[in-house]
Subunit: 247 residues, 2 copies
DNA sequence: CTTTGGAGTTGATCTGAATCAAAGCAAGAC
DNA sequence: GTCTTGCTTTGATTCAGATCAACTCCAAAG
C-alpha cells in the first residue's frame, strides 16, 4: 500500500473518516483544520441523502449505518451501483451535483465536510489525496467485480456472492475465522437486494428459499441469515477465489 | 475540476500520458524525472499485455489503440470490465499483481513507467496523484454507468448504448456535431462485444441486424457502422440524458 | 484457382428469470 | 382483540435471450 497501514493512533473514536479516510498521518494542526469544516448528519432508515442531479455542497464519510447509491431510468428500472459501509466516502471533490441517488438503507450517520474547504485541504495535504486515491481504486475494483456478477452470474450465484461478501465482512469484524456458523444481518429489503443484483424481488425471494431448502442457509427472522457452511456458499457463488490480490 | 483544464502546453506529441495523465503542471525538472523511468511497448491486435494474477512491474498509459480489461470465471464465462482508450491509465500503484486480464483489441502502443520509481514520483509530485484521482473517479463513474447497463438494460438497449458511446467519442474527436451521419469503426469483434455487454455473440449479431433492418444504422464492411440519426439511437439506448453532470 | 479457417449471420428450440397474481406473516394503529 | 400496511413468499405463465446447429462470407495460405 501507498499509505501506511490504517491505524487508530489519533484518539477520537466517533468519526470514521478521522481514523481511516483522512487522518492516519495528520498532525495536530492539520487535524484542527479538518475539524473546523466538519459536521455530522444523521438519517433514518429509508431517508434520501441527495437525489441525482441535486446540488451537493459537501463530501462525507459514513460513520455508522449503510447507504446505497442507485441509478434510475426514466421508466423506473433501478440499479444499485454502490453500497457504502462505515468509513466509505461519498461525493466527488470538484463536482457540484450528485451523480447518483444516495439513500440510507439503515439508520445512518455521516461525517460531512463542506466541499470548498475540503478541496483546499486536499491540495494542501497531499496524503489526503493519496488516501482518497487508494479508496477510489478499491471502489473501482469492487465495481468491476460487480460487473462480472451483473453480466455473467446466474440468480443463484448472485445471491450467494452477495451473502459471501456480507459473511466475510461479518467474520472480519468479529475477528472470527470463517469456519464456524456466521450470522448475517441483511441491511437491505428484498427489493433493494433485487436492485443491487439486477434481479426482481420475486427471484431474490425464490433463490433464498431454495438455498434454505438445501440447507445452505437458515433464515432468522426476516433480515437475519445464518450460514452453517461458508465454503458451500462460496462454492455456489462461483467466485474466482485465487483472484484474491495481495497488495 | 480540481485540475486546470488539460492542455498541451508541454510540447512532446508522442505520449498521451505526458499531455493528459500526468504532466499538465510539470516543470522541466519534473518532466525529466518522469522521462527517466519511461519506456514504450507495443502489441499486435489480440495480444495479451498481462494475465490476471501475474506480476506487473509497471504502470502505463495508452498512447494509441485500445486495450480491454476482462475477468474470467473458472468455467470460462468472461466479462469485460473496462475498455482503455488513448490516455487511459493501466495498473494500480501499490499493487504488484495484475487484477484483470489486459489484452490489446487493436494494435496498441503503451507508454510504461517502472512501478517503483513511479510510486516515488507520486509522493514527490502531488499533482500527479491529483490527476490519477481525477482519472480514477472518471473510471468509477463509467463503471457505474456500465453496471446499470449490465443489470437492467435489454439486449437492444445495450447495443444502442455502446454505439452511442462510440459515436459520441467519434464526434468529439472530429469536432463535429452529433447531428450528421457518424461513421463508427468497431474496435471489438462480436464475441468481445458480447463479453462487454453481458450477452452472447449470437444475440449481439441479431440485435445489430435488427437495428440495420430498421434503418437505425448501416453496416460498412464488418467493423464499420454508420449512424444516420444519432438521436434515434440515443432514444433506443434509453439513457438518462439529463444525468449529464457538469463538473 | 482451391482450400482452409476465422468471423459473422440466421434459424429452431430451450430455459432461467420476468411478469402477473394471490396469499402469508408480523408489527404497529386503533 | 382485529384491521391495516409493508414486506415476503409462493404459484402459474410468459418471454427475452441462451443454446445448439447450419450456413455465408471473405481473406490468407497453399
Amino acid at each position: 500500500m501507498l499509505h501506511q497501514k490504517l491505524s487508530n493512533h489519533i484518539s477520537c473514536g466517533d468519526c470514521a473518516i478521522r481514523h481511516r479516510a483522512v487522518c492516519a498521518r495528520c498532525d495536530d494542526d492539520e487535524l484542527a483544520q479538518l475539524e473546523a469544516v466538519k459536521f455530522y448528519r444523521s438519517y433514518p432508515a429509508g431517508a434520501a441523502v441527495v437525489w441525482s442531479g441535486e446540488q451537493m455542497d459537501f463530501v462525507a464519510s459514513v460513520v455508522s449505518g449503510i447507504a446505497a447509491l442507485t441509478q434510475t431510468m426514466e421508466d423506473g428500472r433501478r440499479q444499485m451501483v454502490g453500497l457504502l459501509l462505515p468509513s466509505d466516502f461519498v461525493g466527488r471533490p470538484g463536482r457540484n451535483q450528485a451523480a447518483y441517488d444516495v439513500t440510507a438503507t439503515t439508520e445512518l450517520v455521516m461525517c460531512c465536510f463542506r466541499k470548498k474547504p475540503f478541496e483546499q485541504l486536499i491540495v494542501k495535504l497531499p496524503h489526503i489525496a493519496h488516501r482518497l486515491l487508494e479508496m477510489t481504486l478499491d471502489e473501482l475494483d469492487a465495481a468491476r467485480e460487480w460487473m462480472l456478477l451483473l453480466g455473467r452470474k446466474t440468480a443463484r450465484e448472485k445471491i450467494a456472492s452477495f451473502l459471501c461478501i456480507l459473511a466475510r465482512r461479518e467474520a472480519a469484524l468479529h475477528m472470527k475465522s470463517v469456519g464456524s456458523t456466521i450470522l448475517i444481518e441483511l441491511p437491505l429489503t428484498r427489493e433493494e437486494l433485487a436492485d443491487y443484483l439486477g434481479l426482481t424481488l420475486e427471484t431474490v425471494s425464490r433463490q433464498i428459499s431454495a438455498l434454505r431448502r438445501e440447507g445452505v442457509l437458515n433464515l432468522v427472522g426476516k433480515r437475519g441469515i445464518s450460514v452453517p457452511d461458508f465454503d458451500a456458499l462460496q462454492d455456489i457463488a462461483g467466485d474466482d477465489v485465487d483472484g484474491a490480490i495481495l497488495s
